[in-house]
Point group: C2
Chain length 586, copies 2
């Protein structure tokens, strides 16, 4: 039991999970090797005991860590050290940590001061580093690498929900070290504690669908209508919504590991169901597999959340899960899907398990989703129109991505100033006034009191203002940042969604050649054009959905931001007015 272990990679404990932060090169004593789930209990030289991922350490005696050898994933375009750790959907990674590697894509003219201290409470702790690029591709040069996770492999029993693989997190509004560095990715993990996600929809591509048989017109059809703004999805009559609340802590492994369970209450049943973060992740995977080719599925806020204190971490994660769920609820295709409904309103454990199995066996995934889409009664679009629309959307989403990143950079800078130097300065002004007041007080001159009292009051007012300035970003800038952050994640999914369409358009363009070389029949060519038209209707419907949500979201967040800003400045003016009144009128 008392065997020694050497730490291979830095590991930062997540608060409240009985984990232990360790540094590369540190020597540990193994106190419990049979924890399971990829974790080992160790004691450091200070006597602190906690869990570390088994892949982060090398145990002195043979047979300690181990596991199957690293998979050869060298066909992924990733850095050597990171290649064997984790890969994920490129779509997912686009949104994973929109803050990381940001400066590399920021508009010129905005210098980001990456090394300045940055201390908003819940985002100040840059846990781990995210410098290795592990995404399969980098559509706009801004993909953030996913963080290595020590979660279960795909072969694990899917009813075993007890392992805490809620990921270490980075980001928030903290500093990221960009994607250019050469630092070693935190995970050198192999084997059991790794999960490889293949980008299923892009692997299959649109070919399968383009030449597939027409689907029977069943109840699963996703209808597209012509609305005022163009093609739109069929929206349910009652808007779906849900509340993510009441995070509760549970423990497992005899209290060694803990997890958080959230209550999710949909407005349809008003009956809460419990879900852990990894259930959300499971849902995300299902939605991505099934709808990702037609609907950009923003990744979960896992990598974006961190906190110096557990409560802040939980609060922030909950807030972001709520944001994610709200967005999913608002989407007509997602909201009405069986898997999403299951997640929101499963009746009991049995119902949940059966639903899960069914969802995982669903074969209408990837590009095949288009076979269920029905632009009912709408005329087929000309391939040139299809291409034109696709390019227009591509330009727009790219431009918006730039704009959003601009705003995030500026907001981050402003956050830094508002929580750092600015309040310090107001505090100093306040102290200088109070200091002068106490000097005046020592004059021995009669009739001094009115001035010194007023000066002290003025000084305290500036100290109050200092606090207000430091607290304000949480009240307004925070929401502006969150919304833009969400949009950054969402926009990061568009290149893949649009890519599916582009590759379909390419196939259709090759139609004549394929017919000439007898690869397809003339009838196939017509079918392909028809299918591409359907895909274009889907993309247009999706863009219109995106636009209407965007207008709603930005309108809302700007109102909130400006409202809070007005209150802020009015309160300052009010405080100063009071301070002013304390001085003798002349």
């Amino acid at each position: 039991m008392a065997s020694k272990a050497q730490v291979l990679y830095d590991f930062t404990a997540e608060p409240g999970n009985n984990e232990l932060s360790v540094r590369e090169g540190e020597t540990l004593t193994v106190t419990n090797q049979s924890i399971g789930g990829g974790w080992i209990e160790v004691q450091n030289s200070k006597g602190e005991v906690g869990l570390v991922p088994e892949d982060y350490i090398e145990i002195g005696k043979p047979g300690g860590g181990g596991g199957p050898p690293a998979l050869d994933l060298s066909f992924f375009d990733s850095q050597p050290a990171a290649a064997t750790s984790t890969t994920t959907h490129s779509q997912a990674s686009n949104g994973n940590d929109p803050w990381a590697a940001f400066s590399t894509n920021a508009n010129a003219g905005f210098s980001t001061n990456a090394n300045a201290g940055f201390s908003n409470n819940w985002a100040a702790q840059p846990q781990g580093t995210e410098t290795g690029r592990t995404s399969t591709h980098d559509p706009w040069g801004s993909a953030a690498p996913p963080h290595p996770q020590a979660y279960q492999g795909p072969g694990a029993d899917d009813d075993e929900w007890d392992d805490e693989w809620d990921d270490k997190s980075t980001g928030g509004y903290g500093e990221s070290e960009g994607g250019e560095g050469g630092a070693i990715n935190r995970g050198g993990a192999t084997g059991t504690s790794m999960k490889i996600k293949f980008p299923s929809f892009s692997k299959s591509g649109p070919e399968l669908y383009l030449l597939s048989k027409p689907a029977p017109k069943g109840k699963d059809r996703l209808l597209i209508y012509m609305g005022e703004v163009g093609p739109i999805w069929s929206y349910p009559e009652a808007a779906l919504d849900c509340v993510v609340a009441d995070p509760k802590k549970g423990t497992k492994m005899y209290g060694l590991k803990s997890y958080i369970e959230y209550q999710v209450s949909p407005n349809t049943t008003n009956r809460p169901v419990n879900h852990r973060y990894k259930h959300f992740d499971w849902l995300y995977e299902r939605l991505l597999d099934k709808f990702g080719s037609a609907v950009p599925i923003p990744s979960l806020p896992d990598k974006q959340v961190t906190g110096r204190f557990e409560e802040e971490f939980i609060k922030m994660r909950m807030e972001r899960l709520q944001g994610w769920m709200t967005r999913m609820c608002r989407h007509p295709v997602i909201a009405t899907s069986e898997v999403f409904q299951l997640f929101l309103s499963y009746k009991d454990e049995k119902d949940w398990k059966m639903g899960k199995r069914k969802a995982e066996k669903d074969e209408a995934v990837g590009a095949m989703i288009f076979s269920t889409i029905d632009p009912e009664g709408l005329p087929d679009l000309d391939p040139i129109d299809v291409e034109h629309k696709c390019e227009q959307f591509s330009r727009f989403t790219r431009a918006m991505d730039d704009g959003v990143k601009d705003l995030l950079t500026v907001g981050q800078e402003h956050w830094k100033r508002c929580t750092g130097p600015l309040p310090k300065e107001y505090q100093r002004i306040g102290k200088a006034f109070q200091n002068l007041s106490s000097v005046f007080n020592s004059s021995g001159y009669e009739g001094e009191a009115t001035l010194t009292d007023a000066l002290t009051q003025a000084g305290k007012t500036y100290e109050d203002i200092a606090l207000m300035v430091a607290e304000q970003p949480k009240k307004d800038l925070h929401y502006l940042m969150e919304t833009n952050n969400e949009y950054k994640g969402l926009l990061g999914c568009f290149p893949d969604t649009i890519g599916v369409h582009k590759s379909a358009i390419e196939k259709v363009k090759e139609g004549d050649k394929l017919v000439a070389t007898s690869k397809i029949t003339p009838g196939d060519k017509i079918t392909m054009a028809k299918r591409a038209s359907t895909m274009s209707y889907a993309l247009q419907a999706e863009m219109n959905h995106f636009h209407s949500n965007r207008i709603y979201d930005y309108n809302r967040v700007m109102r909130l931001y400006l409202e809070e800003q007005v209150k802020f400045y009015e309160t300052i003016a009010e405080k100063l007015k009071h301070a002013h009144s304390q001085f003798t009128a002349m």
Copy 2:
């Protein structure tokens, strides 16, 4: 005529004076060597023609510059390069450039970022450097060195008022390089273009007065009464005041050199008299000689004023001359003095010249001023009381000096932030909103206009706020800084004034010993104690004058500051409220 000259020291031209900025090592062509007044007309390699002080250049052929050899002033505790350039009353130098060398005396805990860019318009140009210490002593370690001047020597005809010796200036709220550096002082000037001022009152010391015969009780007596707050000066029934206005440019030397004349209108005659800066300087010298032992005479704002543009320079100098004159007018001893009355209301040129000659021949200067002070009917003070009072004032003025410098440091930092990074940030926020607005505008989605218009409006509002933030310090912080700056200068005079009292106290303490060694008679000893008592009444009256003015000034400036701050924040809130109203309510 076409002889070449080598530049010995950097020289920065004062705007509007036909001067030419030159750099050390530069080669010039001498175009007119017979300008006079210590100036030479030169042409640089770019063909620009202008005046430079003759002592700043070395003319190629023999007999070019020259003048009498440097005086040996090595008994002054100053740096070699500066020692031969200029010295001045230590009292004057305390106030000369209260900003320079400031950081060396700033309270700990306030880091001054001396190299950061600082760009308020009228103070941004650090002309020359002020690193050599030329003051005779440095009472609180904060004396700023005077700047070398190219003005007339004391032997020049005092009716020849036409030479422009208004000094190059530095300071304002600009950066100073502190007094610790070893850079060469700008002036290596010798001979004619130098004026040596000896601190006459501290040279004479209080001994002369302590044992002098009692002065006849004439009309020149300066009475001290017992007021509510203690001993007070006899204040005139009507408060004197004056307005410094209407700066007008004149030229001399056939238009080669120009000068500024200000109109000074006292409320007694309401008749304006014209004065050039050097007339103010003459007045300052007279007041310092005559009253400096009893009344701290703040130095003129010469070294504190600078401007990138001539109008700003003139405006700022006028503002500070006004402040100085107002302070002098408010002082009962100064206001009622013959020399001050002459300055404010001379009838004609002849009256002025006669008055000048008389004032310059006045022998009741230095410590002898106390012989005209009469604490009428007040009991003699015990020497222990005298010492106690003196120490109390010394402590207070020193503490206030620290407090004022604190506030100035903080204010300077704040000024920098408000005119530099902060508005830039608001501008960026504004641009980011507008940028997003124009991206949204390109969406092709219908019903976009309301949001994009509102976003553009919000963006412009933040650009407006940026301008407001940058302009605000001129509206409020400026006056807070000016007032504290004035007090810094004034407080810098106290160590000398208090020093005279301390040395009188020392003499009185030695009384018994002096009697025992027959240096003085027992009667002399009693006289000395009586005289010290008079001096103490004078100091107390002066302190009470100082306190009442201080309370008035700080009350006034704080009200002004806070009033403007309230307006500022209210205007921002108003603007944001309007921006908010442009977004669609939901």
